[in-house]
């Protein structure tokens, strides 16, 4: 990570390397730029939502090296050299991920604002625990608030995705 130039502004700028949804990017960011703003404003990936911006709501959840984090609480410079997955990178070759398909099948999307964060938290859960209990799902999604309060169908969708993935793998 290199400092770009000290142009006498009070805030310094740095060139950082991010791998976002598999694509390598070099972006110049201010020292105080948040990861969520680089993704949305710098890279145009507006699937990642902003709401509370203080780590309460989880709508800005992305996977940092496979682990869910609130991208409003990560300075972009801290993500230098790391891999980010946003909701735009979840589908592969226009094929929806099992979690995304289950959200459609179980009508787990109401207004949709929390959905990207929910999908990423759920996807990370299924990678670390392919056969979660309902309690596991609720705990994994506890940092993602749905103000439509559509949690019942969201939990159903994650459990359905787990079942589907397990049957596909022949477990």
């Amino acid at each position: 990570m290199e400092q770009v130039r000290d142009n006498k502004e009070s805030v310094k700028r740095y060139a950082i390397e991010l791998t976002v949804n598999g694509d390598a990017h070099t972006v110049v960011v201010k020292a105080n730029t948040l990861l969520v703003n680089v993704l949305r404003d710098g890279l145009g990936l507006t699937g990642t939502k902003k709401a509370c911006e203080v780590g309460d709501c989880g709508s800005c959840t992305v996977l940092l090296d496979g682990e869910p984090v609130d991208s409003c609480l990560v300075l972009a410079v801290e993500a230098d050299g790391h891999e980010i997955l946003t909701v735009e990178g979840v589908a592969q070759n226009s094929q929806l991920d099992a979690v995304q398909q289950a959200f459609i099948d179980k009508a787990a999307t109401q207004c949709g604002f929390c959905t990207p964060g929910m999908v990423l938290s759920a996807k990370a859960l299924l990678s670390r625990n392919p056969q979660p209990t309902e309690q596991d799902v609720r705990e994994a999604l506890a940092g993602n608030l749905c103000r439509c309060t559509g949690y019942v169908n969201i939990v159903r969708a994650v459990l359905a995705a787990a079942t589907k993935q397990a049957s596909e793998k022949g477990v």
């Binding site: 203080v54 989880g58 959840t61 609130d70 609480l73 994994a140 506890a142």
Partner: protein, 267 residues
């Protein structure tokens, strides 16, 4: 100083603090990881995250209560970023890790431009968001010394199961043989400007064989020793009452009289 940023960044956003520069601790390798050092105990790097504490096989084996405490904090995303060092240095009265670590006799190492020093965690906090750490120091590691403790527990009372600060938090560690308590440490969180030892309650328990009547008496003593404030999460009177309740529950858990969720074992 920036570690996980889960406290600092919201504070900056809410204009509670406006640092002109941040120093990231990210690349200091020695702040990572957790090991057992003979003679020193379990040594935890300051940058170990709360999820790191939850997953640690070393803690799960030696001090499950610390893992359980970390597990009850915030939510998954925050636990992936928030660090043990940050939780201590931010010195918030309702923080969950200080009570259980004080109960387990932990100490912290502070390093700065002068010689490194080790401070018992019990002596670390001086007030809300205040501690003995100097401006030029960082907290580098937390050590839980080898001890004869037979059981420990932290029970948090929050208004929700997740993402809630403690209204009351009670940590205990005991050296007991069956129901006979030889030594007890009881630490209360969120009910005073800093975590506090409930020394009268500890004294009442020491050398006793635990009965319901003794637990009742110990709970009452702890309730009278705390100095809670009234705020949006609970009144002073309510907090005091809950200190009594949760002291008893934490003791039952440390004595293995209850299941892991704090409900009483039957039979």
């Amino acid at each position: 100083m920036l570690a996980g940023g889960t406290d600092l960044l919201p504070n900056m956003k809410n204009d509670l603090t406006a640092p002109t520069a941040l120093v990231s601790l990210k690349k200091i390798q020695t702040l990572q990881g957790m090991t057992y050092v003979p003679g020193k105990g379990v040594v935890i790097g300051a940058r170990v995250t709360q999820n790191g504490l939850v997953r640690s096989s070393l803690l799960n084996q030696k001090y499950l209560s610390v893992s359980e405490t970390a597990h009850a904090m915030a939510n998954y995303q925050i636990r992936n970023r928030g660090t043990i060092g940050g939780n201590l240095v931010s010195a918030i009265p309702s923080a969950d890790l200080p009570p259980i670590l004080i109960a387990l006799r932990a100490s912290v190492t502070l390093e700065g431009s002068h010689q490194a020093r080790t401070v018992p965690l019990e002596k670390f906090f001086t007030g809300p968001r205040c501690s003995v750490i100097a401006r030029d120091e960082i907290l580098t590691e937390i050590a839980i010394p080898d001890q004869a403790t037979t059981g420990s527990a932290y029970i948090k009372f929050g208004l929700r199961r997740s993402g809630a600060l403690a209204v009351v938090g009670v940590a205990v560690s005991l050296i007991a043989e069956g129901m006979h308590v030889e030594e007890a440490r009881i630490v209360l969180g969120a009910v005073a400007p800093t975590p506090i030892r409930a020394r009268e309650a500890e004294r009442l328990l020491t050398g006793k064989t635990v009965t319901e009547a003794i637990l009742e008496e110990v709970g009452r003593a702890a309730a009278s020793e705390c100095k809670p404030i009234s705020d949006i999460r609970g009144s002073e009177e309510y907090r005091r009452e809950m200190v009594g309740v949760f002291t008893k529950r934490a003791l039952r858990k440390a004595l293995n009289l209850t299941t892991s969720d704090g409900s009483r074992k039957t039979g």
